[in-house]
């Protein structure tokens, strides 16, 4: 039976301003099973953004309409705009069958042409994207996309790309469905001979600028800055995210292509209202006083929990539990490739790192900084993950100051007159650890404790609190002694293996030059040792292995090697965050993964969230 539509839309249909529902929906619209019950239409959902570069706060809520999506458990990829697909055995060809009759938010049909346009004309345009985004290139070559028919497209990669479907489900996989051809083609010289005139009229300097400001990109603010750009999202921009904005308002997409089990067009909620707070505290205030309907972003630090719990009744909300996808709360990266040979020698000394690791009283740290909500941990997938590696995760986490001292003595770091140890060259052992206090205040607290622990075993360390840009610059210049960062890869070890080997040029801070070597295929950086090279090869292999078990086997090898090498020192398992949901907001799972790859709460499908009166 034909389902319902929002009263406001029904009115528009009645006034003849909008085609009837049946014409707006695909023949076989995607049916979404509501989390609890079939909802009712109406309401405006309030959520907070922080400052002017929180575009991902919007993305997580509305912008997840890719070809595929994650399931709620973050374990499998499910159909989305593609109702089904085929993958070639060598994992180089992916053929997607689109839902027929899906329309862009302006009513224009969405077809294979749009996807071909998005990839071939936009993403692969070197003026627009000087390098093809990592997801869409394998072995240095970009993907090729062909239209088979109006509703079928084929992606061909130069080499195996076994992870492509998972990648496609992450936010960074949204390129194929990002650019409506009928709208965005007007900003490409290829389709618009008069582009120069338009550029001038818009007051910008080049067509690429014009394109970016009109059609945006996955992760830039201007994606939400243009009310005219058609999208496939449940809500479309009504009040844009512009430089001076104090809020962003999104209103329902009348052509949204999903229905609930009763055939009612989604979304249930009329409007999403993102208030922009410059400061977290005012966001906290809004939460406490019940002016926010769902929020976990920015407020989820553990330290806020007592306050938020205390005010549950006042703010009329319940708590939402976030399952961390990260592995490590605080990973210490000693710079094994330090510019100063003496420092390098010290950090590269495995027993030095091991001694320092057992010199940390992790339990105390967890009790103080993390309210006892964690456990000592080194690295690797979380204990719940099938690839969990006990040795990698737990070795050298047992606090034993005496043993640490003995190990250091043995390794030749003798105590000097002032109780601090000396390096082999006679200099005092001293290094600083970079940390960004504004981003991760808890890490500063943790390091303070570590500093005290290490002082007891004769190691002098400085907690170097610096500003974000400087943190990165020091990393890029390989100028840091050591740094800390939460270690990813707890639930999604394939997506960011920065701790497992020198993979991430900004993230694998223990050996930035090796990562450069890896990402540039040996052209730049510094050649890593064998064990690293081996892991790099293994990872490339895993990436192109479609079979999940085989892939797991390869990855486990990597973890074994990494455990043996013991390059990073972890403190404790990443701590789960939490959020709040107003009591009258239903159909929201009360437990969800917390990850960029599973950009919560998007995969929980906000389009089926609904207000009870």
């Amino acid at each position: 039976a034909p389902g319902g539509e929002a009263p406001a839309l029904a009115q528009l249909v009645k006034d003849g301003k909008l085609p009837p529902l049946a014409e707006r929906l695909p023949k076989k619209p995607m049916v979404v099973t509501p989390f609890e019950n079939v909802g009712t239409y109406g309401g405006s959902l309030r959520r907070g953004l922080r400052g002017s570069s929180d575009h991902n706060g919007i993305l997580r809520m509305v912008g997840n309409q890719s070809l595929v999506r994650w399931n709620l458990e973050f374990t499998a990829v499910q159909p989305n705009l593609a109702e089904r697909w085929e993958v070639s055995d060598d994992a180089t060809q992916f053929t997607f069958h689109l839902i027929e009759g899906v329309r862009w938010s302006d009513g224009h049909p969405f077809t294979a042409d749009d996807i071909v346009f998005a990839i071939e004309d936009c993403v692969k345009n070197t003026e627009l994207y000087s390098a093809t985004p990592a997801q869409l290139a394998v072995a240095g070559k970009p993907v090729t996309v062909e239209k088979i028919d109006d509703y079928t497209v084929k992606f061909t990669f130069a080499a195996a790309n076994a992870l492509y479907l998972e990648n496609l489900a992450t936010p960074l996989g949204q390129h194929p469905t990002l650019f409506p051809k009928h709208y965005c083609s007007q900003f490409l010289p290829k389709y618009n001979p008069n582009i120069e005139a338009d550029v001038k009229k818009a007051g910008v300097t080049s067509w690429t600028e014009l394109f970016r400001s009109r059609c945006g990109d996955i992760e830039i603010p201007s994606r939400w800055g243009n009310v005219d750009k058609p999208t496939l999202d449940p809500w479309v921009v009504k009040e844009p995210y512009a430089g001076g904005a104090t809020r962003v308002v999104m209103t329902r997409n009348p052509y949204f292509w999903q229905v609930d089990t009763a055939g009612n067009q989604l979304p249930y909620i009329d409007e999403i209202n993102f208030g922009i707070s410059q400061d977290v505290e005012s966001l906290m205030l809004n939460v406490i006083s019940g002016k926010i309907d769902i929020q976990e972003r920015h407020i989820s630090v553990l330290a806020n929990k007592p306050t938020l719990s205390k005010n549950m009744e006042k703010g009329d909300y319940r708590l939402l539990t976030l399952v961390p996808s990260a592995s490590q709360q605080c990973q210490i990266y000693f710079n094994i490739t330090h510019k100063d040979p003496a420092m390098r020698k010290m950090f590269a000394d495995k027993s030095f790192r091991q001694a320092l690791s057992i010199g940390i009283n992790r339990q105390e740290l967890i009790d103080i900084v993390y309210f006892g909500q964690s456990e000592p941990y080194q690295a690797g997938p979380r204990p719940t993950h099938p690839w969990y590696n006990e040795k990698y995760a737990r070795q050298f986490t047992e606090f034993d100051a005496d043993k640490a001292g003995a190990m250091l003595d043995e390794a030749g770091y003798k105590k000097g007159g002032d109780g601090f140890r000396l390096r082999h060259d006679g200099q005092k052992v001293f290094f600083s650890i970079d940390v960004i206090p504004t981003l991760y205040p808890d890490l500063v607290d943790a390091l303070e404790l570590v500093k005290a622990h290490w002082a007891q075993i004769g190691i002098d360390m400085k907690v170097n609190t610096i500003e974000r840009a400087l943190y990165y610059t020091r990393g890029d210049d390989n100028a840091h002694d050591a740094a800390v960062w939460p270690g990813p890869g707890g639930l999604d070890p394939m997506l960011d293996p920065r701790d497992f080997f020198a993979f991430h040029p900004q993230g694998s801070r223990y050996a930035i030059p090796w990562t450069l070597w890896y990402t540039s295929n040996g052209a730049r950086g510094e050649e890593p040792p064998e064990s690293q090279k081996k892991r790099m090869k293994l990872f490339d292999e895993a990436r192109s292995t479609a079979d999940l078990d085989k892939r797991g086997a390869i990855m486990k090898q990597i973890f074994d090697i990494a455990a043996e090498e013991f390059e990073t020192v972890g403190l404790c398992l990443a701590v789960g965050g939490f959020g709040i949901i107003r009591n009258n907001l239903r159909n929201v799972p009360e437990k969800e993964p917390d990850s960029w790859s599973w950009p919560n709460p998007g995969p929980a499908m906000p389009q089926q969230f609904t207000f009870t009166s």
Binding site: P306, P437, T438, E448, A469, R474
Partner: protein, 373 residues
């Protein structure tokens, strides 16, 4: 000359009184200012040897004392019989499993007596020698005395406040001093000579004034060598800030000097053969002393607080350095307001310091005012 009818100070002594003595005598009569002076001196003594006045190691984190509320110091014990002497009761911690909120309850069965000049953690005095004697010490190391409560890491807020006074009461002064010197000299020159010198200096001042501060802070924070200790870095920032701060004072001084320089007594000083520097400082400046004293006493708290704002922006001092600004910054959140208001105790220290300095300034002003009786 008429006779002095009543004399309460021997004329001899009165006759040789220097102006400083006069000011001191006048100052001494100002009771509030005397109190302020005593408070200020005491604060600086504390700032000199904070270790002695602290009770617990200000950096010591304590898992059992996170958000520990302030402890009451009792004098009379009625729980365990009846006895005198300063003591406190340790608090028992339980945690709400759901909200993770800590619940503390005084355990009156145990009693800890406070020691004076007892032994505690080791600290160094002026970097010369180390000792562990404290004004107040608690013999019970497991349940420390937390007069102002504890922060999120269980650190003793009282000891931290005491420790923070060191930086807050010293570094700001350096900046104030610099801007004062520069401001008076350049403003004085500008206003005293007027004309072309004034025009030129004013353009320089305009230039400095119109340099926006935020980019300067950011640039500065980044440009300073990272391996400097935080305090040295911060001192540089305050000095550099004062390099722009002087311009404000300079403009004010100059405006006043422009009017003052036409006064006859300035002409008279010139005829006395007084050199320009002395005219500016000795003859003209005192006419402006009230304003300057007011500015200084205002600038010092401003500096203490500027540090909070700076650390808010991720500049300025950062923990683990302890200063009042840092402590306040750490308390700047809804959490503290709602659940741990004692974290604002450093704010009270600021209030006391500001009060003392300002009352001191008032007293000085009055004492230096010839029209004051």
């Amino acid at each position: 000359m008429a006779d002095i009818t009543v004399t309460n100070i021997p004329p001899d002594r009165a006759a040789v009184a220097s102006q400083w003595q006069l000011i001191w005598w006048a100052f001494r009569r100002h009771r509030l200012a005397m109190v302020a002076l005593v408070v200020t001196v005491m604060m600086y003594i504390v700032a000199l040897v904070p270790g002695f006045f602290a009770i617990n190691d200000p950096n010591l984190q304590n898992a059992r004392a996170t958000f520990h509320p302030p402890q009451k110091l009792h004098l009379i014990d009625t729980e365990n019989g009846f006895s005198f002497g300063p003591h406190y009761y340790p608090m028992k911690l339980t945690r709400d499993p759901e909200t993770l909120a800590a619940i503390f309850k005084e355990d009156t069965t145990k009693r800890v007596d406070v020691q004076f000049f007892g032994r505690g953690y080791e600290y160094s005095v002026f970097g010369l020698f180390k000792t562990n004697i404290h004004l107040i010490a608690s013999p019970d190391k497991t349940t420390p005395l937390l007069l102002f409560g504890a922060d999120r890491l269980g650190r003793d807020v009282f000891s931290r406040t005491v420790q923070g006074s060191q930086i807050s009461l010293s570094i700001g002064l350096v900046g104030v001093f610099f801007s004062l010197m520069l401001g008076i000299v350049l403003g004085g020159i500008s206003g005293y000579y007027g004309g072309r010198i004034d025009f030129f200096l004013q353009r320089v001042i305009d230039f400095v004034l119109s340099l926006p501060t935020i980019p300067i802070w950011l640039a500065m924070a980044a440009a300073l060598p990272q391996d400097w200790p935080a305090t040295l870095q911060y001192m540089m920032i305050t000095i550099i800030l004062s390099l722009t701060g002087w311009a404000q004072l300079a403009r004010v001084v100059r405006g006043r000097f422009l009017s003052l320089r036409t006064e006859e007594f300035v002409a008279a000083a010139r005829l006395d053969g007084v050199r320009e520097r002395r005219i500016i400082f000795r003859h003209m400046l005192p006419s402006f002393a009230s304003h300057i004293i007011a500015s200084i006493t205002l600038a010092v708290p401003a500096m203490i607080l500027a540090e909070t704002s700076l650390s808010f922006l991720g500049l300025g001092l950062q923990p683990p350095t302890i200063s009042w600004g840092v402590l306040l910054r750490e308390a700047q959140n809804i959490r503290s307001i709602a659940t741990a208001p004692w974290l604002f105790m450093p704010g009270c220290a600021v209030v006391v310091a500001v009060m003392a300095l300002n009352l001191l300034g008032d007293g000085l002003r009055d004492a230096a005012d010839p029209y004051n009786k």
